[in-house]
Symmetry: D2
Subunit: 373 residues, 4 copies
Amino acid sequence: MDSIGIGLIGTGFMGKCHALAYRSVKAVFGDVPAPRLEVLCDVPAAKAEKMAGEFGFARSTDDWRQLVDDPSVDLVCITTPNKSHKDMAAAALSAGKHVHLEKPMALTLGDAKALTALAETAGSRTIVGYNYLHNPAIQHARQLIADGAIGRIVHFRGMVDEDYQADPDLPWTWRATKADAGLGTLGDLGCHLISLAAWLAGPIESLVAETRTVHATRPLPDAGGERRLVENEDVASALITFEKGVHGIVSTSRSAWGRKNSIMLEIHGTDGMITFDQERLNELRLYQNRGPKAEQGFKTILSGPAHPPYDRFVPAAGHQLGFNDLKVIEAHAFLTAIANGHAAYPSFSDALHFEAVIHAIAESGETGQRVRI
Amino acid sequence: MDSIGIGLIGTGFMGKCHALAYRSVKAVFGDVPAPRLEVLCDVPAAKAEKMAGEFGFARSTDDWRQLVDDPSVDLVCITTPNKSHKDMAAAALSAGKHVHLEKPMALTLGDAKALTALAETAGSRTIVGYNYLHNPAIQHARQLIADGAIGRIVHFRGMVDEDYQADPDLPWTWRATKADAGLGTLGDLGCHLISLAAWLAGPIESLVAETRTVHATRPLPDAGGERRLVENEDVASALITFEKGVHGIVSTSRSAWGRKNSIMLEIHGTDGMITFDQERLNELRLYQNRGPKAEQGFKTILSGPAHPPYDRFVPAAGHQLGFNDLKVIEAHAFLTAIANGHAAYPSFSDALHFEAVIHAIAESGETGQRVRI
Amino acid sequence: MDSIGIGLIGTGFMGKCHALAYRSVKAVFGDVPAPRLEVLCDVPAAKAEKMAGEFGFARSTDDWRQLVDDPSVDLVCITTPNKSHKDMAAAALSAGKHVHLEKPMALTLGDAKALTALAETAGSRTIVGYNYLHNPAIQHARQLIADGAIGRIVHFRGMVDEDYQADPDLPWTWRATKADAGLGTLGDLGCHLISLAAWLAGPIESLVAETRTVHATRPLPDAGGERRLVENEDVASALITFEKGVHGIVSTSRSAWGRKNSIMLEIHGTDGMITFDQERLNELRLYQNRGPKAEQGFKTILSGPAHPPYDRFVPAAGHQLGFNDLKVIEAHAFLTAIANGHAAYPSFSDALHFEAVIHAIAESGETGQRVRI
Amino acid sequence: MDSIGIGLIGTGFMGKCHALAYRSVKAVFGDVPAPRLEVLCDVPAAKAEKMAGEFGFARSTDDWRQLVDDPSVDLVCITTPNKSHKDMAAAALSAGKHVHLEKPMALTLGDAKALTALAETAGSRTIVGYNYLHNPAIQHARQLIADGAIGRIVHFRGMVDEDYQADPDLPWTWRATKADAGLGTLGDLGCHLISLAAWLAGPIESLVAETRTVHATRPLPDAGGERRLVENEDVASALITFEKGVHGIVSTSRSAWGRKNSIMLEIHGTDGMITFDQERLNELRLYQNRGPKAEQGFKTILSGPAHPPYDRFVPAAGHQLGFNDLKVIEAHAFLTAIANGHAAYPSFSDALHFEAVIHAIAESGETGQRVRI
């Protein structure tokens, strides 16, 4: 397989991120089939055409079904708003295409399950855009844990926060509705945290949660002060139990002033601790109960060539990867899986667990009862 | 009132801390009755005598009841292991003495309530050693909140951790028993966190919790490998609801490698956020949604003369207070209350709330049910 | 001008960085002529061919003169070892090509001056790869200074360090020779610092310096322990005076264990201070003497859409740019200059000042005398 | 020797600090003669009397010569403005008293030398208040260096800054005169840095420096806008050579907005690096070239019982010492030296080197010439 035809649906935040990733991945890694940027889809058609010129796609369309059916397209990237994920992904799978889908897979757990079931019978590969999993610092954390660097895991903490819904005066949008957005902060941010928790500490078994809508209503734009209900949560927290029996806590807010892309992790072990903050994505902190007490302390490890595949981007430590680079690593993982015929991580099946957990948090937040995953 | 006679029970970690505080408080503040260091109690008598010489107490005894009844003693400091707090404090109150009691007040909530009831009928003043409340940075945080610097509080997070029980090979001690220690990490550390949560965000109404004993057994010393059960919790977390309706999370571990005196606080408001970490006790971090977006960020405020009573210790910012200085401020608060005839904060009544919450966490940890305070 | 033909010489660290930049720049920015990746040069030819496949260049060659003369090539990127910069750049200029040259321009100041003189008479555009200048955080720092956010600049400090020559046992290489490498840490790292100093605080007028070779000799590879002299400096520091009369200090080491890409800046003003560290390239720290003393502190500003052109990469703050992204911004600046017919920054003329300063530091380090630039 | 009579001259910032130190030192350490607080001196007499009551001194006076001659006084603490140090110290030495003198010893190097000569012939002990030397974290740094933890020292950097003279509108005071204050930032701050440099990296041999007065004039108070000249330096920097041949840089500013008590140190070794910042005085950062590259990083070591004499204050790490605690350690060092009949560190002789260096910086700042110490 020399090359793979790419079709990309969406040209917003994540659409651009995918375009950049597939433009760079061959130059960064060398060892994958070269992506051919075939078709770009957005609406209206003029926008799609303009962006195809900028992103370097050969053709454009305003009809995503046409993109999915295009014989030159082997791999469909779906980066449109959450509401459309399910139908697009299902169509792409049915057309035999590999699917690179942005998270979350669907608005409801039922839809995510149905989509996963479809993927399991399809002959093509899937991956969901849990890009933070691909950070070399996170991969190194996972390796350290596997190597016993902190002993047996005994406790986990994670918080993921942003402030894009912190301002009480922000106008009401579709993000506030269950019908169009599904979950609130859990769907946007919480699922990233759960993906990291499960990747580092294993699957989650059960949980009990609380959720809050911080700003109960928001003003309708140009409506003379009229306000509409916010239907989904701004804040959610849960006490979680991992399958290994470990206790943990997770919390997320989309109304946390000052937090721009904060994902704070603490993994407590019998022999040490690892901590991480996504706002400093090139730093991992490690404490080990080793050597003289007078010299123990948290070590700040800067990502470098010793943490692959950092070396594919820069051969010198401390120079730093950025947000968009993580998507390049994700694209590389997907292309490699396709080329080698194995499953990519996280496939739809893997991601289903993450999404089951966020829906369980939402459910427990409503009922107050413990929910098993 | 020119001077106040001090009797101190205990010469360990906190005993020394009290001795230093009452030696320094008049020189630091000037405006309080001078403490007279009258009687120091410890066992055996020789130790009490030696330490009285070092601490500068006039006399020593190995009988705490004698200290309590000594007519030269106006104020009794109790810094012995938790198990003894209740009887000593009750005796001191009954003898008409002011009582400066280390936390927690008692091993059980019932005992704490009984003691509080006794204090409420006594004519003397009480204070419990929740020393972190007296940090100028914390006082400033409270003032900022009162002034609306971060708007209305919408979320609270707190974690308090140390690693003194992190090592799986540490021998079994009385700390592991309900009879002698009562709660585990909740009694040692968790109550500090709750004191801060309530001081900053108001009283707590209800909670649901999980608790874990990380190291189920520990080796008996000199017992050929025999191990004994750890009866209380190493880790505890709770989803809490404040009386104001605000949701929050708290978590504590005494088995958190690398954490030496970590108390991490986040107070989320509608207009900003405040964070704090006790391991950098002279720094407060403040984010405000003010001014141009390009210039917003978390500000690190170093404690200084603008944050009273820091100025009583050092007239220049950034020079830093230490752990023992906080006890001096606490002693000042207590002496001032005694001199002026008003209640000190936190009195036994105030502290009862903190201790009710940690017992509620322990209870919910066992039952899995929500507990109202 | 719809597109610009790119010829790239070199496929190492910086060669790859250029390839990635010119692959991405149109997709990131949209508003520039599309780069056409025409010719890639390296030796041997097989390597050039292989890398052309990976980087996506149309053709390859092992003869850089052929690349320079290729009529499809409008813009020549030079990323080979320093020794070759001068001849390649001169040939490209003579062939009427735009030149994107990695720093430093030449091994000696004389060569750099000659090259600059050539560029000034050429009809084409030039830019030198002082990529850290293009960091949105640095651009914001410059804007803040221009806006008076810290008043008048009164002092400057800068340190740039790495540890690639810290290990005493590293074998001797061409980097240790004046003939092949020219300067030591000054040429590799120091010139970056000077570029930032001049960009933020204005041109430098004079200086006095000290230099040191930390590891006087290094073992020759496979030479049975024979050691050869290190001819250039591992550490250099200078007291500098800016044309504005401001005093500053700069220091650089390539033997600084633990420093991976550290560029620490302090700009002291009459009304505030700005600090920055390249190892956290998305963070700018700002102190302003404004508002109540109790609320003053250093603010950590995370790069975001309010700091253009960050927004072209990610529309949300705190998500972070990486090292390679800065080269994309540099490429954009160059393509824009070419398209619009104005000078790019820093052109050869601009960069000459930076390089004059590092040579002055080396000279003062030898003579001990103050050197005027 | 059971006890030592203390006479303290001065009740300001450092006077209070000394009073607190001598009140606490026996309770903290146990193993020293008990200080008896005999006489306190300040003007006017009423202030001395009031402060003697607060500080717990037995008697007070407004005549420092009377204090020096008081037979109950064995040890004289001198904490008055710099101008008075020399005469008071000389008188105390002549009276056979031990002298605890605040830094700097004198306004001029000549006076400091004369005083040192006097001390060398006296039978009593001396110590100068370079309190930051006594920080357990700094002691640990010195121990690490001695143990070879970072190999051979190859480079040193130090910066000491505050902002008490940063505001251009601050009125003119005696601090601005050579006659009353002597040096500017070098005397207030720079000498602390030099004490740390020499303690950690050994004596300094020669230097070349630049100095600047940032605010050339300041308004006279209540003088209708009239301004007077500032005669001494606000900023000073030097390139220094240690006797061991190591190159280093030092810089100091009293006009550095945002710096409250910043003393930043970097000690570069052939096998690692140590860094420190006095604004986080309980943290030491250590990088070692040991173990796998993937796990190397700067370790943040929190001061704790493993770093004596931290354990005398608090038995648990991370609880933090404060500024005033360092003076207690200094007082302990002095009392121990007196009791044991050995020299304290830094004695007048030791401190003379520090002060010779700051005067050399000032001299080089004026002449532009290298100065040998």
